[in-house]
């Protein structure tokens, strides 16, 4: 039986792992390669690296990191952060990334999803969507959730699917950093409407939140960062809990 995936997310700045509460306050949480290896040994199903470096050397630094991670770990991983061209994708896939994730660049130029999917296949193109509820309507936000767009989240999710995205990573900015649970209602709506897998992100605080996102939220995978980095929840205990709760999980 296909299992639900548990995905730790490593935010990377200049080669180090960081995670901010609501993306603002950054704290150092360790060496990415070492952390990746630990998570892979502990039973993480996949990893996501989100690069938030803003320097000119960014592209090369990121490709170097991807290559180090690819050499060290034997589970799939996705790389995101500032990827905007077919050439950016080629460099990262050649360095050993399994998938790339795009966000603001897809909002700015939706055609890039079609181009990337045609060039590399849908299976390696993840479109990340940051969403925030404004007066009862879910709108796509960019720039780490700071900038609102006029795109309605549900419509944009359908569009990226139609354009050839292989998976959607949906982050609720209202829930991110709150540890109060995932945005299950919106996730269920989007996951039910789409033919591609949905990765839920934003709001994980307890093991029960993961159970809820797989049942009520109909998510195919759940992503979290700080609760794993600061060992508030261990991946082995989380997977045992979910398995005991009759969620299909790889053990």
């Amino acid at each position: 039986m296909l299992t639900k995936r548990i995905i730790p997310c490593l935010d990377i700045k200049e080669g180090r792992t960081v995670k901010g509460v609501n993306f603002v306050e950054l704290r150092d949480a360790g060496d990415p390669v070492e952390l990746a290896k630990i998570y892979s040994d502990e039973g993480a199903d996949e990893l996501v690296f989100l690069d938030i470096t803003a320097t000119v050397d960014k592209r090369k630094t990121l490709a170097d990191l991807v290559s180090k991670v690819a050499k060290a770990i034997n589970i799939p991983f996705t790389v995101g952060g500032g990827i905007s061209t077919v050439e950016d994708v080629k460099v990262l896939l050649n360095a050993g990334a399994d998938k790339i994730s795009i966000n603001s660049s897809a909002v700015k130029n939706p055609q890039i999803i079609n181009e990337m999917a045609a060039e590399f296949g849908s299976q390696c193109i993840v479109v990340a969507i940051d969403t925030r509820n404004v007066d009862g309507i879910d709108f796509v936000h960019t720039h780490g959730g700071r900038q609102a767009t006029l795109l309605k989240t549900q419509e944009w999710a359908q569009e990226v699917c139609d354009r050839g995205a292989g998976e959607i990573l949906l982050t609720s900015m209202d829930h991110d950093g709150t540890k109060a649970g995932f945005s299950n209602e919106l996730l269920a709506e989007i996951s039910s409407a789409l033919s591609i897998p949905v990765i839920a992100s934003g709001g994980a605080g307890t093991m029960a939140h993961f159970k809820d996102v797989f049942t009520f939220g109909k998510a195919d995978a759940a992503l979290a960062a700080s609760i794993f980095h600061f060992k508030e929840i261990g991946i082995p205990e989380l997977k045992t809990y979910l398995s005991d709760s009759e969620i299909s999980i790889r053990i």
């Binding site: 034997n74 050993g96 399994d98 045992t240």
Partner: protein
């Protein structure tokens, strides 16, 4: 409560370090990310050459045929370089992975493509009965079931998990040595003479994947 980590790591999935002089050729063609296959072989202590040189491929002790991408484009590329003929003449242990498995079959529904025909098996597209429950592509970790006694599957735990990303599958056949269930049962691993093929990505399937690759290197 059971300790999951113990169950994962205590499954006693050891592997032997391959002979340093072993020559492994990974066939280079217009497929997706092959770097992770090379890294996975390196982690096992083996060195592989990524090559489309017929002489290097013929002289190798083992041949690996990886792949991601689209079937008809890949077949056109292989035919243009006569790699189709070369592959069918190979006598050494040969391992197809993912699209590599599909191309070793007879025909693929992906753009109605005639494939290499090593396995007389048809490749079909997943059609979900219920799109809310079954999404396509089949992405994630799923179990290998009904494993037969075969050197490629030596010392694997019961129903091990492997990582999949695919929209097309090979039907069950007499050559199926392990199957997986998604929507219906399909061929997870095929074997005929010196040809082996895995639909999942062993290079991304943790310790189980490493064991499959190390078993292949020991054949």
């Amino acid at each position: 409560m059971t300790d999951v980590r113990c169950r994962v790591l205590a499954s006693d999935i050891g592997h032997q370090t391959p002979d340093n002089n072993m020559k492994i050729a990974v066939i280079k063609y217009n497929s997706g990310n092959v770097q992770s296959v090379l890294y996975a072989l390196e982690r096992l202590g083996a060195h592989a050459d990524l090559t489309d040189d017929p002489e290097v491929i013929r002289a190798a002790d083992k041949v690996v045929f990886p792949g991601q991408g689209e079937a008809s484009t890949a077949m056109k590329y292989l035919k243009a370089r006569k790699l189709d003929q070369l592959i069918s003449e190979i006598k050494q242990p040969f391992l197809g992975v993912c699209l590599g498995l599909q191309l070793l079959c007879e025909h693929s529904e992906e753009n109605d493509t005639e494939c290499l025909g090593i396995f007389p098996v048809k490749v079909k597209r997943f059609i979900p009965e219920n799109s809310q429950e079954f999404k396509v592509p089949h992405v994630g970790w799923n179990e290998l079931e009904n494993l037969v006694d075969n050197p490629l599957l030596k010392d694997l735990p019961a129903n091990p998990f492997v990582y999949y990303v695919h929209s097309f599958y090979a039907e069950l056949s007499e050559l199926t040595i392990a199957q997986t269930h998604y929507i219906h049962d399909f061929s997870a691993i095929l074997h005929r003479n010196n040809f082996y093929a895995i639909q999942a990505h062993p290079e991304k399937s943790g310790l189980v994947g490493e064991k499959l690759l190390s078993n292949f290197l020991s054949i």
